[in-house]
């Protein structure tokens, strides 16, 4: 585990951060829209969202490569204001790696130390340490163009880590790698973060990547930070329709809030579900496909929520079976562990779908 001796000290604090880009025709685009965020020291934090959601812009503002239109950015309590990137205690791993093509791996890794005028002998030691850390020892004298994508990625990582930044910013660093290598690097990155104990702020559009690696995730959409929570909480208790939909597969049941702990589904069924929305507001109840169970009509246990429907499609996936269930007012997807064919429901069967109340979440938007 991390040596978080200073407990919950905030590493990065964003308060009311706005970034607008104007173009010549006068139209303004709000890339980042009033983001408030506190990232704890030593944590692996991911900013997750589809492309164009403002996550990279947010990261670039922390790095100082972009200045906020409004708001405040603090790193370990210090206001960054208009400070240029070279005067900030952070380093970035760029999506394109941005390795200097005219320098060797060792010179690339030593660049930051050289700029900070670290004495040569100390510099060499640190460079060796960083290159060994990413297992690139045999490549120290190569040029970046002689390396594979994965190797370049490691060098970019070493080049940033060698400076022992207070916060390491990573902008989709695995985006250019193939799937297999990406999985491997995910593990390595996570282990590396534990080893060096530096706060990682990781930008990605890959929800699986964010869920696997992060201590906490912030989901962004259209410049807004929608939800910040642990991967499990984001998956199990999304608060908005976008978050529920973006992280994995899910079902939405249109509903209206009836009271503090009750919602009414579109077909009139009442569910006991707590929400902090006003009575009468339109919401949706979201349940993951694997949290739903299919029963023969009328055989569902009474302590679970139930919806009647008819099997429309059956998709066999080997380790699972996906049922497409038609309910007269909507469509549900159910993911079941694969059973033998004889025990499977068939297309056209009348069935009942059930779920535990705690596996459902009320979302808006």
């Amino acid at each position: 585990m991390n040596e978080t001796t200073n407990g919950m000290r905030p590493a990065v604090e964003l308060a009311g951060v706005v970034k607008r880009f104007g173009d010549r025709s006068g139209t303004e685009v709000t890339a980042v829209d009033h983001v408030d965020l506190t990232i704890t020291d030593g944590e692996f934090f991911s900013l997750l969202g589809p492309s164009g959601c403002g996550k990279t812009t947010t990261l670039r503002m922390v790095a100082g490569l972009e200045l906020p239109t409004a708001g405040s950015i603090r790193i370990h309590g210090e206001e960054m204001g208009l400070r240029p990137p070279n005067k900030r205690p952070v380093n970035t791993v760029f999506q394109s790696y941005a390795l200097f093509p005219h320098m060797t791996v060792a010179a690339n890794v030593g660049f930051g130390l050289e700029m900070r005028k670290v004495p040569q002998s100390e510099r060499r030691e640190l460079v060796d340490w960083a290159i060994e850390l990413v297992e690139m020892g045999s490549m120290a004298h190569r040029k970046p163009t002689q390396l594979s994508g994965g190797q370049q990625q490691r060098v970019a990582l070493a080049r940033a880590l060698v400076n022992r930044p207070e916060v390491l910013l990573l902008d989709e660093p695995l985006g250019a790698l193939d799937l297999k290598l990406r999985h491997q690097m995910q593990h390595e990155l996570k282990n590396l973060q534990r080893e060096v104990g530096i706060t990682f702020v990781y930008v990605t559009h890959d929800q699986e990547e964010a869920v696997t690696m992060s201590d906490r995730i912030g989901v962004m959409h259209d410049g807004k930070l929608l939800q910040v929570d642990t991967p499990e909480a984001i998956y199990e208790r999304p608060t908005t329709r976008f978050v529920a939909d973006f992280i994995g597969q899910t079902n939405f049941l249109e509903a209206t809030v009836a009271g503090a702990d009750e919602v009414v589904l579109a077909n009139g069924d009442r569910l006991r579900l707590a929400s902090d929305h006003d009575a009468g507001s339109a919401v949706a109840v979201t349940v993951r496909p694997e949290r739903l169970t299919v029963h023969r009509r009328g055989e569902a246990p009474t302590d679970r929520h139930t919806v009647d429907g008819r099997v429309e499609t059956v998709t066999y996936l080997g380790n699972a079976v996906i049922y497409g269930i038609g309910v007269d007012w909507m469509h549900l997807e159910v993911r079941c562990p694969a059973t033998l064919a004889g025990d499977r429901r068939e297309v056209g069967d009348d069935i009942t779908v059930s779920f535990e109340p705690e596996h459902a979440a009320v979302v808006t938007g």
């Binding site: 790095a63 100082g64 490569l65 240029p84 990137p85 070279n86 005067k87 952070v90 380093n91 970035t92 760029f94 394109s96 941005a98 390795l99 200097f100 093509p101 005219h102 660049f111 930051g112 700029m115 900070r116 594979s148 994965g150 080049r159 940033a160 400076n163 290598l181």
Partner: protein, 310 residues
Amino acid sequence: MPVEAPPGDAPVGETESEGASEVATPGLERQAERAKARQGFLLGLPTIIYLFIFFIIPLGFVVAYSFATRTRSGRTELRDFNLDAYARLGDDIIMTVAWRSLWMSVVTTIICLILAYPLAYFISTRTPAVRNMMLVGVMIPFWSNFLIRTYAWRVLLDSDGLVTQAFEAIGLGDGRILFTSNAVILGLVYGYLPFMVLPLYAAIERIDWSLVEGARDLYASGWAAFRRVVWPLSRPGVIAGSMLVFVPSFGAYVTPAILGGNKEGLLGSYIVLQFLSARNGPVGSAVSVVVLAVMLISTLIYFRSGGKNL
């Protein structure tokens, strides 16, 4: 090293298809290659003939003349080949002209570089539309004849010319620089500046700006990022531009002839003088050969230093 093992049954399929293609096309591949090479040669033939007649042969004459004998009457005869002309190259007059040519073209190159670099940098950091407009601006001078433009400078630099009067008006002292080496350098810089701007622009425009951001992120100040990243990566442009300015400046004839008067002759004027006035073909040819050699060596240095886009 990541191991990319092919699927287990792939090698079998490969061997089979290889064997099949070997049987089906014996030597066909080589025949096709030969036909292609022949076609390329035929396409290039007109140019090859043209260059041979109007470039290689005359060049051969120049080299031959430089070893030839000059008769008393000033005729050059291709007999008794000797090194007399080359022996004359050490003469004070030739050395003076050569040094003057060298330092003038070096100074011209340096001034062009200093003027062109910021401009090229500025252009390459604009939006594409503005960029194109500015590049057209850089090339506008080419729309009129070089000789005419050089004569225009003569008018401007004349004792009652616009530039001279402007100089005196703002109190920069005597503005009369016509027929001095300053006027020649001014003319050379004016004439060759676009040749510096364009390759510099091409080189700087290609630089990945995330590298500069990377450097800034790694504690480099703006100046350090320029010195350590932008400058080294724009070096091919610096070398190409310097070549394109230095080589024609070194052999310049028109500019020194019009703006330098007779006092500030360069090697180009000296060669003309040898052929036309002094009627000394061998010496003129020998100087030409040396000038060509200098240019050839500069070009080789350029290619050796990694430049590929002349």
